[in-house]
């Protein structure tokens, strides 16, 4: 296994015509590291997320993932390498049960006379095991996802991602629609996913969440990295100053951990 950072961005620039959305972004995400990406509206977070997950091609700059320089032609190409953005309500089919969603497109089949027949029992066992390993409790794996809470849905998405060999997950405002208790569980869930060696980039507006879950905080401001600091070595006030441009947190970069 490669020992370098999981994802390394080097001087990523993105122009839309004359507009420079990103003006040279460089930072890295380690294996098992949770990075909170913060920044004001229009700072370039969404553009950056799209570039990482293959939705956009950067105008210039290099991206190294898992030890190899990569340019993803599409989200599917990024996904094949183990990078995925989890959008709420875009990755689950609520009309199908938990097992069906977990195995979406990868069903376990056995062929009888050349006809593939799904092995429901085997699939259910796999899901039960994956859920138990992650400490997620769902009353019945045969319940349609539409009857599950937002937190349970997120758990299914993240467990599925981890189970199928995901390496880096991007979460865009993952708790926007969740209550207090569900958010708390969601944050615990993210730590658990990271503990399996998966890199996590979480985009949020809520400072408290960022500090609760992140190992490192990266602030984007006007298309540049305005701060890249270990969460333990900074404070919400300081981060707010980075977001608004009153302070630059780059000095903390030397002290950042290289992942677990």
């Amino acid at each position: 296994m490669n020992t370098g950072p999981l994802l390394q961005l080097d001087d990523i620039r993105m122009n839309f015509g004359a507009i420079e959305a990103l003006r040279g972004i460089s930072f890295s995400v380690g294996r098992g590291e949770v990075v909170a990406l913060l920044g004001d509206n229009g700072a370039g977070k969404s553009t950056l997320v799209k570039i990482i997950s293959g939705g956009l091609k950067p105008s210039s700059g290099a991206m190294t993932f898992d030890g190899r320089e990569q340019t993803f032609a599409s989200p599917a190409a990024a996904k094949a390498q183990g990078i995925e953005t989890v959008y709420q309500d875009l990755s689950l089919c609520t009309n199908v049960d938990v097992v069906g969603n977990f195995f979406m497109g990868r069903e376990i089949v056995k062929k009888y006379f050349g006809i593939p027949v799904m092995q429901e029992k085997a699939m259910e066992e796999v899901v039960a095991k994956a859920m138990a390993n992650a400490g997620t409790r769902i009353p019945s794996l045969r319940t349609n996802v539409e009857y599950l809470s937002g937190g349970q849905r997120q758990a299914i998405e993240l467990n599925r991602f981890a189970h199928w060999g995901g390496k880096l997950v991007l979460l865009d405002e993952p708790f926007a629609a969740l209550g207090v208790e569900q958010t708390r569980r969601g944050l615990a869930m993210i730590k658990q996913i990271a503990a399996q060696g998966i890199g996590v980039i979480i985009i949020t507006h809520i400072m408290a969440q960022a500090f609760q879950v992140a190992d490192r905080i990266v602030v984007i401001r006007q298309g540049l990295v305005a701060g890249d600091v270990a969460a333990k070595k900074t404070s919400p006030d300081e981060v707010v100053r980075m977001i608004t441009g009153e302070s630059y947190g780059g000095a903390a970069q030397e002290t950042r951990p290289n992942g677990p």
Binding site: K79, L90, T94, N95, V96, G100, G105, V117, M118, Y147
Partner: protein, 332 residues
């Protein structure tokens, strides 16, 4: 709060409501409609359900996949008409024969399936490749395919289908003609495909959330193409059976069947939003409609009332769909 057990029972009843309705209707008719309760009547209900039933399978699959196919009736009529023209000996039939004679049976079936599949492919092309709305595309097909039937027949009919094909309509098992057994077999096979094979699962997933299915690596376009082609081919089969039953074809053969099939699909619990529905339920829906038809006939009411009642049933079914959702939310 309700216990999981109560909830499970409520879910079961809601999911299989059409069967309870069918049982209820059959019991009520058996008690109150004179001469209803006899083997011959029940066999007749099953036989009547053949054509609409077969057609409804394809329609249901496309609706579960999140689309619509209004062309199934006309497609069936075209398949019936071409079967009639090729293998009938009177009217506009050209009386094609083969040696050995029985070969016309598989050949006519293959031709009917191919015609249906071709129209399904065309529908699929417009909907999937050109991104047109399935409702409009298949409405257009509904019109032009019927037009084609009238045009190629010149409004005339074909009679006297080759005896080696008709055998299927005459031969009976347990008082029920072979064509009805074919319909039942189709329901069994496609129910299996929809619930047990990856294809069926993917159709359901795509109907529920095609974006999620696509992101999970399911080839959505390919799957939808297959669904449309299947619906067309199944409609072709329905047309073939219809030609056998009537021993030929007329230009207006099967008119109105679309709405029966549509009603059966909705009553059978298939949601028009896509992603929800079971084929056995659809068959129960077809049987329910046939039972009501038969009862109306037996009571000697003018047949026109059938249509009024069926219209109301469709409304009731859609209303039920909405109510079910509310009941579920209370139990969830």
């Amino acid at each position: 709060m309700t216990s999981p057990r109560q909830r499970a029972i409520a879910e079961f009843v809601l999911d299989h409501l059409v069967w309870f309705m069918l049982a209820f209707v059959l019991i009520v008719f058996s008690i109150f409609v004179p001469n209803f309760f006899q083997v011959g009547i029940f066999a007749n209900i099953v036989e009547q359900s053949t054509f609409v039933g077969v057609m409804a399978i394809g329609l249901a699959i496309v609706i579960i996949a999140g689309h619509m196919d209004l062309s199934v009736e006309s497609t069936a009529a075209l398949a019936a008409m071409i079967t009639g023209i090729l293998f009938c000996s009177r009217g506009i039939g050209i009386g094609l024969t083969l040696t050995p004679e029985w070969l016309v049976l598989p050949l006519s079936l293959i031709i009917a399936l191919a015609i249906g599949a071709a129209i399904g492919l065309l529908n699929g092309f417009f909907v999937i490749r050109l991104k047109m709305t399935a409702f409009i595309v298949t409405l257009a097909s509904f019109i032009w395919v019927r037009g084609l039937v009238v045009a190629i027949s010149g409004g005339r009919s074909a009679q006297d289908l080759a005896p080696s094909i008709r055998v299927i309509g005459i031969y009976q098992i347990l008082n029920v003609p072979l064509i009805a057994w074919i319909a039942i077999a189709c329901f069994a096979v496609f129910s299996f495909i929809m619930t047990r094979t990856p294809f069926g699962r993917h159709v359901t997933l795509v109907g529920g959330n095609s974006v999620a299915a696509f992101r999970a690596g399911i080839k959505v376009d390919r799957l939808l193409f297959i669904s449309f082609i299947l619906a067309g081919a199944i409609a072709g089969l329905a047309g073939w059976l219809l030609a056998i039953r009537t021993s030929g074809a007329t230009a207006n053969l099967g008119v109105g069947m679309l709405f029966h099939a549509f009603a059966a699909v909705v009553i059978g619990g298939v949601s028009l939003k896509g992603g929800v529905g079971r084929l056995p339920g659809v068959y129960a829906g077809v049987l329910l409609l046939s039972s009501i038809n038969t009862a109306i006939n037996l009571m000697g009411l003018p047949a026109h009332y059938t249509q009024v009642i069926q219209g109301m049933l469709v409304l009731a079914a859609v209303l039920l769909d909405t109510l079910k959702l509310q009941i579920r939310q209370r139990f969830a």
